[in-house]
Amino acid sequence: MTAVATAPAPARHSRLSGRLAGTGALLRLALRRDRLMLPVWILALGGTLVSGAGTLAKLYDTAAKRADLAESMNGNSSLRALYGPVFADSLGALNAWRLGGFMAVLAAVMSLMIVVRHTRDEEETGRQELLSSACVGRHAPLASALLTALLANAGVALITTAGLAKSTGTTAGSAALGLAVGATGMAFAGVAAITAQLTESGRLAKGLAGAVLGAAFVLRAAGDTSSHDASSVLDWLSPLGWAENVRPYAGERWWALLLLVAAAGAQSAVAYALAGRRDIGMGLVPPRPGPAEGRMATAYGLAWRLQRGALTGWAAGFAVAGLLFGGMTKGATRLLGDNEQTKEMFRRMGGQSGLTNAYLAAIVGLLGMVAALYAAQSVLRLHGEETGGRAEPVLANAVGRLPWAAGHLVIAFGGSVLLMTVGGLGLAAGYGEDFGRILGAALVQVPAIWVLAGLAVLLYGAFPKAAPATWGVVGVCLALGWIGPALNLPRAALDLSPFGHLPKLPGTPMHWLPVLSLLALAAALVGAGLAALRRRDISG
């Protein structure tokens, strides 16, 4: 044993395996910690993809109906922005079109959460230090995190392939869809692996990876509004565009998968190199000294100080996305092709202005759903402060619980108004007309955002252990808004999402009743949550 280890080549090998020492143990730890979360993610993603085919089969039971659907959907640029183009009219291809893009985004979210959770979060809490004092190599935490993500994505791919092979009649197409979703997940696992090396905070690492995902989505959506077959340059700049170009069930392009795999591999290699060069717990930028004296004097000031960075980043993202989508409005709503059916639909939708309105309404709805993610995250900052032990010393001062919570809630609720304002103005500026109408349409989304934020307040106040379940609820609402209508889900199901009740502006008349009802509901949720917060124990 020792004799072998002194030989040059094995020594090199043992140094490499030394850096990875303990990966297996850490992987088992990760799987044990995530024993509930991982199966839920895998079954939710795989199960949705599999069951979607069944729903579509019932709705569009003849080839003619499916061809009609494909034709009309592909002619609508706002739908292409959301879902991407339809490549074929088989059941499998329609299912992949309808759900594939959404599920690829969700796989990316799952993967980036897994990777940061088992790398930077562990370092930030100080747990990694104790682990690393044992026989754990420098690269083992990252390796085990990436392996956990790989297992999760492989699970999604496997369920998708196995579940769809029969109903769609083709294993190749099903495997292509499953692999496209899973490989997208791994590409963003790679993104998160890098951002986790750059920042000292897990929250920031997730935020940066999420921003990359958002940019990839905007690029993909922009590319798809201006092309019918995902061939735009913008599509090729986005990993989500690569996933789309795998074209499951429509003459699979397997080489597009290689782009995703190569991206995952290259990013992981960069992350390994970074991880080998930095100190545990530190980012790449050394910490700078701060002011020796502070100006904050209130709980509001503290909350603002803690949340202003995230809000600024989100607002910048909304402004850019709004400008980009707005700038594409005219090109996107030009009558594309000379297909009779498309022209007919175009006329039915009210011609140029009808199409423009539909496009703008779709984009505004999309911005609203993303703003709900911000609002939920911002409200749950309260939960993070409490479980992190930072709420207790603040509340031990002359700070009431309500003012303390209100400081964060003002930012969460006001911040979502700010995001929709910035996004709406960006959209209008990009489009160049209709400032008032577009801004109004954007702000009409606010009551629905507030209802979800209010739900987060209620969960945090009354059932603090269940507060993270907010993400599940927000996720379901996003899914209902995004993929629900095309699955012809019953109205009752669609009505579960507050966004389903909003008037579709611009283009349809304003209805005040649902808007005001949602505002009242949001106020009731916040009130109930705060009332519960006043009564319960604060955990230290």
Binding site: E200, G290, A292, M296, A396, N397, G540
Partner: protein
């Protein structure tokens, strides 16, 4: 003297765990009160109830004459708290946190803040993430000592401090006492308790097992006595409170309950004393005796299992 803290029959359960089981605590205004007990005895739970962060299931608690749950905010204007495990925001500097906490209380004495930073040798410009455990502790201590408050609640405040800083801490507590402030000090450092505390309360398993001045508590424990006698001892074994009696000819060693020592000394002088060594109980013995479940019969391992 008025009472700064009065607690009677406090109960608090977390699910099936009874953290507090009828706890009593009285802290006089202007005293430094030691709050002692083994790990898991309920010290931090009590402190959180006193701060209104936890709501007691039953029992009465008054802090500075107020109900800590209902009047939390008004009360906290006059209270400064230092937790045992100080968590800071990673992107805020220590100075910012000190000033924030000061303003969130009754206010901050700028001159005292500067003096304390100097005494504790703390750099206020560093960010929360870069402080060591001891320095995080100092941030909370400076914020507490510089605040204009009547009561300081310190929960194992020196667990990360070096001996030099421990001394600075002790002199700061002395200053507080001299300024007429009340301090509730939870601590495991016995020398700290001995030199600072006017009175102590010892709790175990959510109950107060002893309260009083250290002298009073010492009185309840055993003193060891070694004596060389002129003649053979007589009747020592029959005296109340005598333990571990060992007679080797004219040499006697024994343990005696401190409040029964008088009779032992009489008996010894009756035989004629050539030399006498009497050792009062050490603080360690005092606490071990109170921390253990069944005095004299419980091993340290058994005690640990109990406190979980």
């Amino acid at each position: 003297m008025t009472k700064a803290i009065t607690v009677a029959g406090l109960h608090k359960s977390f699910g099936r765990t009874h953290a507090l089981d009828g706890l009593d605590l009285t802290v006089e205004a202007g005293e430094v009160h030691g709050f002692l007990g083994p790990n898991g005895a309920g010290k931090s739970t009590t402190i959180r109830v006193l701060l209104g962060l936890l709501r007691a299931d039953s029992g009465a608690a008054r802090v500075l004459g107020r109900d800590p749950w209902h009047d939390a905010v008004e009360l906290h204007r006059h209270v400064a708290y230092v937790p045992g495990d100080v968590t800071l925001w990673r992107n805020l500097s220590g100075g910012e946190v000190i000033d924030l906490y000061g303003r969130l209380r009754g206010g901050l004495d700028a001159r005292r803040r500067a003096e304390l930073l100097d005494r504790f040798e703390l750099d206020p410009a560093k960010k929360g993430r870069t402080y060591s455990k001891g320095n995080r502790q100092k941030v909370a201590l400076v914020a507490a000592f510089a605040s204009d408050v009547e009561l300081l609640i310190l929960d194992e405040p020196t667990s990360g401090l070096d001996p030099l800083m421990e001394e600075v801490f002790q002199s700061c507590v002395e200053d507080e006492r001299n300024r007429g402030r009340t301090v509730l000090l939870s601590s495991h450092i016995l020398s700290e308790v001995e030199s600072l505390c006017d009175r102590v309360s010892i709790i175990r398993k959510g109950r107060t097992v002893e309260a009083g001045s250290l002298a009073e508590l010492r009185h309840l424990t055993r003193t060891s006595v070694t004596a060389e006698l002129a003649g053979p001892p007589d009747g020592l074994a029959g005296l109340p409170g005598v333990h571990d009696l060992d007679v080797q000819g004219l040499r006697v060693t024994l343990q005696v309950d401190t409040d029964k020592i008088d009779a032992v000394l009489r008996s010894l002088t009756a035989s004629g004393v050539r030399s006498l060594v009497s050792t009062p109980p050490t603080l360690e013995e005092l606490f071990l005796r109170h921390y253990q479940e069944d005095i004299g019969s419980t091993t340290p391992g058994g005690e640990k299992a109990v406190s979980r």
